[in-house]
Amino acid sequence: MNICDQILAGKSPSILKVKELIRQVANSDLNVIICGESGVGKELVAQALHLCSNRKGKPFVKVNCAAIPGELLESELFGYERGAFTGADRTKVGKFELAHSGTIFLDEIGDMPLSLQSKMLQVLQDFQFSRLGAKTDVRVNCWVLAATNQDLEQSVREGLFREDLYYRLNIIRIFIPPLRERPEDIDVLIDYFAGRFAEKIERTLFEFTDGTRDFFHQYSWPGNVRELKNTVERLMILGDWRTVKVELMARETKQFGSHELTTQPPPPVPDDYDVVTVQKKKFPPLKEVKKKAVREAEGKLISEVLTETDWNRKRAAKLLQISYKALLYKIKELNLRRED
């Protein structure tokens, strides 16, 4: 079994594609951005990239850009000289230097302050930067991997993320779909995590029956692979499927807005209760409904204006009060075509 298969369990077409992408680009040294919801495994993909590359024996340095306050992130990434600011009583090497000859993984890069993004851009362009308070630049040779669960294109449009930095990071883009969109991975993941955890605790109190697996397939996994892993491990420690099943049902019902369960604890579920009838109706997430409605409204308006201007895109952009480039992007995104 190769490194990719050891780290990334799954047999869905989308995960097989992710593994193929990793294999094809691992020795390219090209900037990679890994996209997907929280808990899908972005950090694992970053680790797989590093371990499949020629940098595998070298440092892998992770920085969570959302976890560090904006004003401290610069010194964390780039280091500082002694005396650079009050409290800087010694020189500190930043994460980029620590990752030299290896890989740096910038998690939650969408949360990087705009003011720091310009320095980040310089590093990606020139492979050098200056520590805070330093007079000379430091050169580094490290592979840059980034991850985000945000829609960075939207952030660019809103002026929260630099467009030039966005394009520099998007040389290779690896998208990991949420677990609910690849149910064929669920059984593989159950066996993978159960196997690994059983070795770790040297025992198991729980057997994954068909009934349990059916429920795992019905559940929507808002926390994705991380939530599934935690659930498997919890079951193996507690050995109590009823309790865990009720917790999952309560979590899912709360997420879809049932106010009954926010005020009362979930009722006990008898062993022979048909889990599927509890979730009579599945509601789509509100975010998806909103996104679809916006797309439809935008498509309708832009089509009308383009027809009105005989597809003169410059005039249409002016009427819509957006830039020409933004209009071209919208036409491509919404797949609008001129009808002859």
């Binding site: 390219s28 030039d164 040389i171 290779i172």
Partner: protein, 126 residues
């Protein structure tokens, strides 16, 4: 690179817009080239590593491996292969593409006769 006749020249076209792929394929086949089309940079890279092409014609802004990434990898692994880049995006993308020195850069929308001249030119370049 030695002379390659039009009928034996193999062109690989990459674009995530299927309609553009179809138009370009039809036109270049009429010009008697052998044309292969793929919708993604990943598919293109796998084909380049397993096949034998005389020209790469690539879009820039694409999912998985972007045209920028494909050009960089191609330059390293297939240094003699002519690359024609095409995109309809703005200044940022144009600058990033130019940095990677494709043999030609075509701004979408472009005239198909311009494309055939460019393809002919890269095939007969010394």
């Amino acid at each position: 690179m030695g002379e390659i006749s039009e009928t034996s020249a193999k062109i690989l076209i990459v674009d995530n817009d299927e309609k553009i792929l179809s138009i370009l394929q039809e036109y270049l086949e009429l010009c008697h080239y052998q044309v292969t089309t793929v919708p993604s940079g990943l598919d293109a890279l796998m084909l380049l590593r397993s096949g034998d092409y005389n020209v790469l014609l690539t879009d820039i802004v694409m999912p998985d491996i972007s045209g920028l990434g494909l050009i960089e990898i191609t330059r390293k692994e297939f240094p003699g292969l002519p690359i024609i880049a095409m995109t309809g995006y703005g200044r940022q993308v144009k600058n990033l593409t130019s940095e990677r020195s494709p043999d030609y850069y075509l701004e979408k929308p472009f005239d198909l006769t311009q494309l055939s001249k460019v393809v002919h030119s890269v095939l007969h370049k010394e």
